[in-house]
């Protein structure tokens, strides 16, 4: 029913036309339309004429299959984490995670909640954190700029890290997701 094969390790091999490809990747960031927390409301203005993310080539895609970036917008509960893992793994490589707000960094105001995780990095490889509670659209664009810079420099390798250390991430994920029923890897 589901594809249960773990992913291949991507390795470090150079691709053809790496530089051009990196430029293209940086300038065409497609974002999965998935709001995990309160920060999702701050993403909407990005598309409006005031902030206009399309000028950077950033677009919203309604399906993870076609997206490059997953934005964890604010606090992330354990229940949502399960869905986020699935969405993230369904995104095709290369893929990037951008985390918004204090909650993803250290739990923020929900640090002592029974179902909100504190440090996102333990569960998913975050490429860019954007600080704030909540970050304003300007900050998010800032974050995108940083991400674009990292991609151009070839440093946004969270997805490689995730695949190479899948066991570590899985262990952490399984520790807080009590009824783990996902496949080994969600293709």
């Amino acid at each position: 029913m589901y594809c249960n094969h773990p992913p291949e390790k991507p390795g470090d091999k150079k691709e053809v036309l790496q530089k051009i490809t990196n430029m293209a990747r940086a300038n065409s960031l497609w974002v999965t339309g998935y709001g995990t927390g309160c920060g999702a409301i701050e993403l909407r203005p990005l598309g409006t004429s005031r902030f206009d993310m399309e000028r950077f080539g950033i677009a919203m895609r309604p399906t993870p299959r076609q997206a490059d970036v997953l934005i964890i917008s604010g606090y992330l509960s354990t229940k949502t984490l399960k869905r986020v893992i699935r969405v993230y793994e369904q995104i095709q490589d290369p893929k990037y995670i951008m985390a918004l707000g204090s909650c993803t960094i250290n739990g923020g105001m929900y640090f002592d909640s029974y179902n909100t995780l504190n440090v996102l990095d333990k569960y998913l490889p975050v490429d860019v954190y954007v600080m704030g509670c909540m970050p304003r659209p300007e900050s998010i664009i800032d974050g995108f700029s940083l991400l674009m810079k990292k991609i151009k420099e070839g440093r946004a390798t969270g997805w490689k890290h995730y695949k190479e250390n899948l066991d570590y991430y899985r262990e952490n994920q399984k520790q807080i997701i009590k009824n783990w029923d996902l496949p080994d890897y969600n293709w």
């Binding site: 029913m1 589901y2 594809c3 094969h5 993870p64 699935r86 969405v87 496949p183 969600n186």
Partner: protein, 973 residues
């Protein structure tokens, strides 16, 4: 003296039996069987002596006197050659059924034997008063037999018989008295010497007696009640002996009555036939249905007496009456669920043969008599002809309903009973024998379709269609039964069809193929309904065809009404919208590869008929071509829309078949070379793709056990080859260029533009776009989407089903890339037909040119293939190796789909379409047909009000009939 033993031996047996003691006496059975066997032997000897087996001349006879003195006191019998055959049937019926009485009511054996004697006596009587004696004996025996089982309804039936025979006695004796007083003689010949008032009086009295005894229409009430009320054994025996005897006796007396113009019989008969059969549509019980059928045959006898004379009359009446009586006998015996109710595959067939006999379907003997008789009527009495034809069709309808209702109730044991086996056997042997007599009329010169190219195309089409269906016949599921035999028969007669050289040959082959297919269909699971619809529509189109042939006075078809009738026959057979009901009921119900045969191959017979009609009637252009084209275009559209909304794979294909056939009609209606090229090209193409699709459906059904879209989906992984072949067929019929289907559309559109029929063009184009809806529905509903866990066990179709599909798909590819292969054959042949207008398409190599358009299928195909190939290779070598993940692993808002069934979109697939169409009034052909059937039912109910079920009413009927006759005949004089 010895010869009379044939008549009186049973009487002897009756006397001995009556005196024998005990209930279950073996002795009585021994006596009965001995007497009957001896009598039968005598009859056989007599018939041989009289040369009855040579049906050409039935006039030989021996005269026999006995008793005291001379007539009228003595018993006078004239044993005719025809009569011996009837007697044979009676003896056979009694021998085959008497054991049933022996089990339940042993005391009835003397009565049976007495009835047999009375029947035989009446059969051979030449004397009016003798006839009276036998009539009385027969009535008494009937009453006794009927009342033998002490049950309310049977008593009632017996009392009605008694009442009527009382009245008959009075009237008859009056007639005898008048006759004797006027002429001093009581022989039948004396009737001829009557004149003046006495002649009228005797005629009226005797006619009333005869009509009453015959159970012909206005006076049929008591007979119906009798058949319904009596036990089926009694009714069966009665119809095989006494009823047959009365019919034969009436046939003897009627021409002798001094009534003036005998056409009055024909009027009584024809009117009665139509009205009684209308009422028959509403009949519920088996007995009553067969009673109506008896009434129909009595009416036929009246018509025959009024319109024919001499040897023709004798022979027609003999064949009609003997075989109808025997069939009714077998139906009563078979339809009697007296033991071990159960379903038998043989039951349907066993029961269908007598039904087909009664309905007069070729090559069974009744057909030959009916055919000759109807031909005579068509030539000389057209109005009577139409009435008789209508009545016969109505009869066929309720007989088929009876068959569909009852055939499941036949006991398995019935088949093992010697009576049933022998009955069927005798009927069949006799059928072949009689058919032999007429064989000379058949003509296989193929002169109907003058062009040998067209003929060969159709030969090849039918043969290939049948052959491709054959490998898969054993891949059946569940309760489907063996149908290959019937498929083969049907296919064989279809293959012969283009070779038919005259109307009768064409008709016979047409009907054999249709009714063999009906039997084949009835083998499906729960296919009774489908088979019934098919039988009704097939016989309707058959009667239309027959009428057309008979009205054409010897040639195959004449312009005008016959051609119109035959066109209608073809349209019904094709499932023109309005009559498409049978397609969408029959195809889904038919077993295994049968629907592929029906839709792909058998429906092409109607195309052949249309071609034949057009060629023979006008040389190409039918005057109603434009109407036909409109009908075709609307059929295409309506069929396509209905197909898109169909919830079932086979049903969808049935509607698609209706829709695609519309294009053929448009092409033929054009009556131009382009139009006919399009039509015939599409005929070939339709046969190929529709068979591929239906074989695909058969494969899916075989592997999953269902054809409902709700239960299917995702089979592409399990049945990749079936999917590939279906895909090719679908791309083709959708008309997408590199494959064959586009050619037909292109030719058709060019033809339509050439003729300037733009509105039809628009409708046809729209229909072809709607075809995309159902083509995708079909592919997605069955093969794409999610695989239901219910079908997880499914695997690739067996080779027997796959191979024909592969062949068909390959031929689609070939035809798609090189349509000129077919066009090079078609176009010259059609150019040679003088009646077709317009310019022929010019074929230059692979290029086809018309006045306005061009088409080079080869270049288009090559282009598509090359581009596709380049894309494919580029994909393949660019190092792109995507990973296969299951269908459930989809981006589903972060969730995992709970089960395949919940994410498979299949129910109400074109919902927006349905919504958009909502403003259209929902006119369903079903509703129209319901209206028609309701109207007929109402008419039938109206007629049925005559038959109140009260014996006194029936007496009143007889008297009223007498008075009316009196007024009418006196007025006429």
């Amino acid at each position: 003296m010895v010869k009379a033993l044939a008549v009186f031996l049973p009487l002897l047996g009756a006397f001995i039996n009556a005196w024998l003691p005990g209930k279950h006496s073996k002795a009585s059975r021994f006596v009965s069987y001995t007497v009957l066997t001896a009598g039968l032997a005598f009859v056989v000897l007599l018939s041989i002596q009289l040369g009855a087996w040579n049906l050409a001349d039935l006039s030989n006879s021996v005269i026999f006197h006995s008793g005291v003195g001379s007539p009228p006191l003595s018993i006078n019998l004239e044993i005719t050659a025809g009569g011996t055959l009837a007697a044979l049937a009676m003896y056979a019926a009694v021998i085959f059924s008497i054991h049933r009485f022996a089990l339940h009511t042993p005391k009835s054996q003397p009565l049976i034997l007495a009835m047999l004697t009375a029947s035989l006596g009446l059969l051979f009587a030449t004397d009016i008063f003798n006839s009276f004696v036998f009539l009385e004996i027969g009535s008494i025996a009937t009453i006794g037999l009927t009342a033998a089982s002490r049950c309310g309804s049977r008593w009632e039936a017996a009392i009605k018989v008694a009442l009527v025979s009382g009245l008959v006695t009075i009237l008859y004796l009056l007639a005898v008295a008048v006759l004797y007083r006027s002429t001093g003689m009581l022989t039948m010949a004396a009737l001829g010497s009557l004149s003046g008032g006495a002649a009228v009086l005797v005629s009226i009295l005797l006619l009333t007696v005869i009509v009453t005894e015959l159970k012909a229409f206005p006076l049929a009430g008591w007979g119906l009640d009798f058949y319904q009320g009596a036990s089926s054994n009694v009714a069966g025996l009665y119809s095989a002996t006494w009823s047959l005897a009365v019919l034969m006796w009436a046939a003897k007396v009627l021409p002798l009555l001094p009534i003036g113009n005998p056409i009055i019989y024909a009027w009584i008969g024809a009117g009665g036939l139509v009205l009684s059969q209308l009422a028959g549509l509403r009949a519920g019980s088996a007995g009553r249905i067969l009673g109506y059928s008896t009434s129909a045959y009595a009416s036929l006898l009246l018509v025959a007496a009024g319109t024919t004379t001499g040897a023709f009359y004798t022979r027609t009446v003999l064949v009609l009456m003997v075989f109808s009586s025997l069939s009714k006998f077998s139906l009563f015996m078979l339809g009697n669920p007296w033991k071990n109710r159960g379903w038998s595959g043989y039951g349907t067939v066993l029961m269908l043969i007598p039904v087909l006999l009664l309905a007069g379907i070729p090559p069974l003997p009744v057909f030959w008599a009916k055919f000759a008789f109807l031909k005579h009527l068509a030539l000389h009495f057209p109005v009577v002809f139409y009435a008789v034809l209508a009545g016969l069709f109505l009869e066929a309808v309720y007989l088929f309903r009876f068959w569909a209702d009852r055939s499941e109730k036949i006991s398995v044991k019935a088949f093992s009973k010697p009576s049933a086996v022998a009955g069927v056997f005798i009927i069949l042997v006799a059928a072949i024998w009689i058919t032999q007599l007429w064989w000379g009329q058949l003509d296989f010169s193929g002169s109907i379709i003058a062009s040998s190219t067209l003929r060969n195309i159709f030969h090849a089409l039918f043969a290939a269609g049948t052959l491709l269906c054959l490998p898969g016949v054993f891949k059946r599921i569940g309760s489907e039964r063996n149908y290959w035999f019937w498929l083969l028969i049907s296919g064989a007669s279809l293959t012969l069809l283009p070779a038919a050289g005259n109307g009768i040959t064409f008709y016979i082959l047409w009907e054999i193929s249709a009714f063999a297919a009906v039997v084949g269909v009835s083998k499906g699971t729960g296919a009774r309904n489908g088979a019934f619809w098919y039988a009704v529509f097939a016989s309707f189109s058959g009667y239309l065809l027959l009428a057309g042939i008979l009205l054409s006075r010897g040639s195959f078809v004449m312009a005008g009404l016959p051609a119109l009738l035959m066109t209608l026959a073809a349209l019904v057979k094709l499932g023109q919208f309005g009559t498409h009901l049978w397609n969408v009921r029959t195809y889904p119900a038919a077993p295994g590869t049968m629907p592929a045969y029906l839709s792909g191959t058998a429906s092409k017979a109607a195309v052949l008929l249309l071609v034949a009609v057009a060629l023979n009637a006008t040389g190409g252009a039918l005057p109603w071509g434009r109407a036909m084209a409109w009908a075709g275009a609307l059929t295409a559209l309506a069929g396509a829309v209905l197909a898109a909304l169909a919830p079932d794979y086979k049903k969808l294909l049935a509607y698609a078949s209706v829709s695609q056939i519309g294009y053929i009609l448009v092409g033929l209606g054009l009556a131009s070379i382009l139009g006919w090229t399009a039509a015939l090209y599409h005929t070939v193409h339709h046969m190929i793709f529709k068979m591929a699709l239906f074989l695909g459906a058969a494969s899916v059904l075989y592997r999953t056990g269902t054809t409902r879209f709700n239960n299917l989906g995702g089979l592409v992984k399990k049945m990749p080859w079936t999917f590939a072949f279906t895909l090719i067929a679908v791309i083709s019929f959708a008309g997408i260029p590199p494959l064959a289907g586009f050619g037909g559309k292109w030719l058709l559109y060019n033809g339509l533009v050439e003729a300037g029929w733009l509105p039809i063009l628009i409708v046809a184009m729209f229909a072809s776009v709607v075809a995309f809806l159902y083509s995708y529905r079909l592919l997605h509903g069955v093969f794409l989407g999610q695989l239901s866990p219910k079908n997880a066990h499914a695997k690739e179709a067996p080779l027997a089903l796959l191979l024909p599909q592969g062949i068909l798909a390959a031929s689609i590819m070939v035809l798609g890339f090189k349509p000129t292969l077919l066009l090079n054959i078609l176009v010259p042949a059609l150019k040679a037909i003088p009646g077709l207008s317009g310019l022929a398409p010019v074929i230059q190599g692979d290029m086809v040119l018309t006045t306005m358009g061009t088409w080079n299928a080869w270049m288009v195909g090559i282009m598509v293939m090359v581009v596709f190939g380049i894309a494919f290779v580029f994909y393949w070598i660019s190092g792109h190796k995507p990973k296969y993940v299951g269908q459930l692993d989809i981006g589903f808002a972060g969730e995992m789909p709970p089960s395949a069934d919940e994410v498979h979109y299949s129910n109400n697939f074109f919902r927006p379409y349905t919504r958009a169409l909502a403003f259209l009034p929902r006119i369903h052909a079903e509703k129209i047909f319901c209206g028609v059937s309701k109207t007929f039912s109402m008419l039938g109910d109206g007629v049925r009000m005559l038959f109140t079920g009260d014996g006194r009413t029936y007496l009143a009927h007889s008297l009223l009939f007498l008075v009316l006759l009196f007024v009418f005949l006196n007025g006429g004089m």
